[in-house]
């Protein structure tokens, strides 16, 4: 069966959820091989998890150069693998960095690239949503080795057993791939909450929340549900919540099982980042707010009454 390369998203070997989704999608096209690029020890840590989602092989490229320079080393290693193995396709996560790796790889291998893919068929056709989620398209690659950047949370990860046999690969990085040096990494605290793009529940607040202090109400509801916190642009621009949590066209695209919008009107640019969520709940005091057009369940009311009451009730049910 044809080999399909999957670039593993991980943090020092701790595999991110999207990787299971990528391996699942890859199985529609052939036999998935996981490519683990990172610091020494990453592949060993990642191995068990990758086996659970059907990785037959693990190509381990461990070198400080991978994380020491921006994007280019990963693309170089992948390009070499593509040349040596002639895989049926390459899958990466549609994160900012994943798309950049894919872009460089597309240039190196003269291959077509599809981004923000939400499904892949056995014949290689991919589903994509475009124009803020307003349109669904099917696309295919016409040239080279198809490269798919797959949107997190779009595909349900299905376990399958894989041999996960490890093969070490050489990481030799050219001078031009060393042009941009990463000198520092700063993690800005999000506490113990899940990462926004990966979370299966997101609770977001908008201008209606009114202040940074009031965002505690949103955080409490999120914590009762084990959710990530998001915000509209009006909320981040007003300084209620840090920009990195912005959902929408110019922020993150999320596609969780459940999205709870509190005090958010539902402008098209906000919908762009959340309308593929499976279930959408809205709390807004304006019955005409466009967010209700999307909501599976909406409460017309004051979020300062509704949200704390919901939090208390959820915590009571959990106790």
């Amino acid at each position: 069966m044809a080999e399909v390369l999957v670039l593993v998203e991980h943090d020092n070997g701790v595999v991110k959820k999207v990787t299971g989704e990528l391996l699942t999608a890859a199985r529609a096209l052939g036999e998935p091989s996981a490519v683990v690029l990172g610091a020494a020890g990453s592949a060993a840590t990642a191995s068990a998890r990758l086996a659970e989602f059907g990785a037959e092989k693990i190509y381990a490229g461990e070198s400080a150069d991978i994380d020491g320079y921006v994007v280019a080393p990963k693309a170089e290693v992948l390009a070499r693998l593509v040349r040596d193995l002639a895989p049926a396709a390459v899958l990466v996560a549609a994160t900012s960095e994943g798309k950049e790796v894919a872009g460089r790889l597309a240039v190196k291998t003269e291959s077509g690239l599809l981004t923000d893919v939400t499904s892949i068929d056995a014949d290689g056709t991919a589903g994509q949503t475009i124009f803020a989620g307003g349109m669904l398209v099917k696309s295919r690659v016409r040239t080279g080795t198809p490269i798919y950047a797959v949107r997190p949370n779009a595909i349900t990860a299905v376990p399958a057993t894989g041999a996960a046999s490890r093969q070490d690969i050489e990481v030799s990085v050219s001078d031009s791939a060393r042009a941009a040096t990463v000198t520092e990494r700063v993690v800005e605290a999000r506490g113990s909450r899940p990462e926004l793009a990966e979370a299966s529940i997101v609770v977001s607040g908008g201008r209606g929340v009114g202040s940074a202090d009031n965002f505690k109400i949103i955080e409490s509801l999120a914590d009762s549900l084990g959710a990530a916190v998001g915000a509209s642009r009006a909320a981040t621009d007003s300084g209620f919540y840090p920009h990195q949590f912005q959902v929408g066209q110019t922020g993150k695209t999320v596609s969780p099982q459940l999205y709870v919008a509190c005090g958010i009107s539902g402008a098209i640019q906000h919908r762009a980042g959340m309308q593929t969520s499976k279930t959408i709940v809205a709390v807004n005091k304006d019955p005409e707010a466009p967010i209700f057009e999307l909501a599976d369940f909406g409460i017309v009311g004051d979020l300062f009454a509704v949200v704390p009451q919901a939090t208390d009730e959820i915590n009571r049910r959990k106790a």
Binding site: D296, A305, Q309, I314
Partner: protein
């Protein structure tokens, strides 16, 4: 420091956007067209660097005749001149071809720094700056929320999912920016008047030495085979809060096994 800013004209995200029925490319004829939002931040950043370090700012756009409007709008913010790559054979170009054309155009210009937006709102490929860095063999400083220039040394804060990275490189380099980096200025009346007489050079594929069959829809490395509007969502439940809205909400979530 000479800077080229990449500016793309896109259909306004607040208006209705569609694909052409016939070839499934983005419909730019019926749409209201604007400068890609992130590119306004790129222009602003270029002007700031120029104000601090001198040099010239050139706007580079690949797009049809209509893109002239966006070029003038960009120039009215302050850049010195523009280059417009315009050729009917470019219609339907994929990201890979666009990057080839822009890389060729950049190689005809003198620059130390290219500044682009981190993503466009129509294609949303978000890969073009990385593709250009790859083609030109220069440093990739993408996803910046902060840029510092000291002589030929560049430092950016590159936004990541959980924070940022500090990244350093020397010119020549390609920087792409998010909207966290600055607050774009509004064109002044004087700027709008001046923009009318700023030089705009038009380049065709022939000028760039690219053959028409290497570009456009025919050479696209990927294609849209089917397109349909998202089916409308089934109307959900909407209830007024009568004092127990929070409890009702919790009940809905519990019924959906979210609790």
């Amino acid at each position: 420091m000479n800077i080229v800013v990449l500016v793309k004209q896109v259909p306004d995200s607040s208006s209705e956007r569609t694909l052409h029925e016939s070839d499934k490319t983005v419909d730019r004829d019926s749409a209201s067209l604007v400068i890609n939002e992130m590119d306004e931040y790129a222009i602003e950043e270029a002007l700031k660097v120029k104000e601090a370090h001198g040099g010239e700012v050139t706007v580079l756009t690949m797009g049809p005749d209509k893109a002239t409007e966006s070029i003038r709008k960009a120039l009215s913010m302050g850049p010195d001149k523009a280059v417009h790559v315009n050729d009917p054979a470019l219609h339907g170009s994929c990201a890979l071809v666009t990057s080839k054309v822009l890389a060729k155009a950049l190689s005809t210009l003198e620059w130390d720094l290219v500044i682009a937006g981190a993503e466009s709102t129509d294609g949303q490929v978000s890969a073009l700056p990385a593709m250009l860095a790859e083609r030109l063999g220069v440093a990739q400083l993408t996803g910046a929320r902060k840029l510092t220039v000291e002589g030929s040394a560049l430092t950016v804060e590159r936004q990541t999912d959980d924070g940022y990275q500090v990244v350093q490189a020397a010119t020549p380099a390609i920087v792409s920016v998010w909207d966290t980096i600055n607050e774009p200025r509004y064109p002044s009346f004087k700027g709008i008047m001046q923009a009318k007489s700023k030089p705009v050079t038009t380049l065709t594929l022939a000028d760039l030495g690219i053959s028409p069959d290497e570009a456009g829809l025919g050479a696209a490395t990927s294609e849209v085979v089917e397109a349909a509007p998202r089916p409308p969502k089934q109307a959900g439940v909407k209830i007024p809060d009568e004092g127990d809205g929070g409890v009702k909400l919790a009940e809905f979530l519990a019924a959906g096994k979210f609790v």
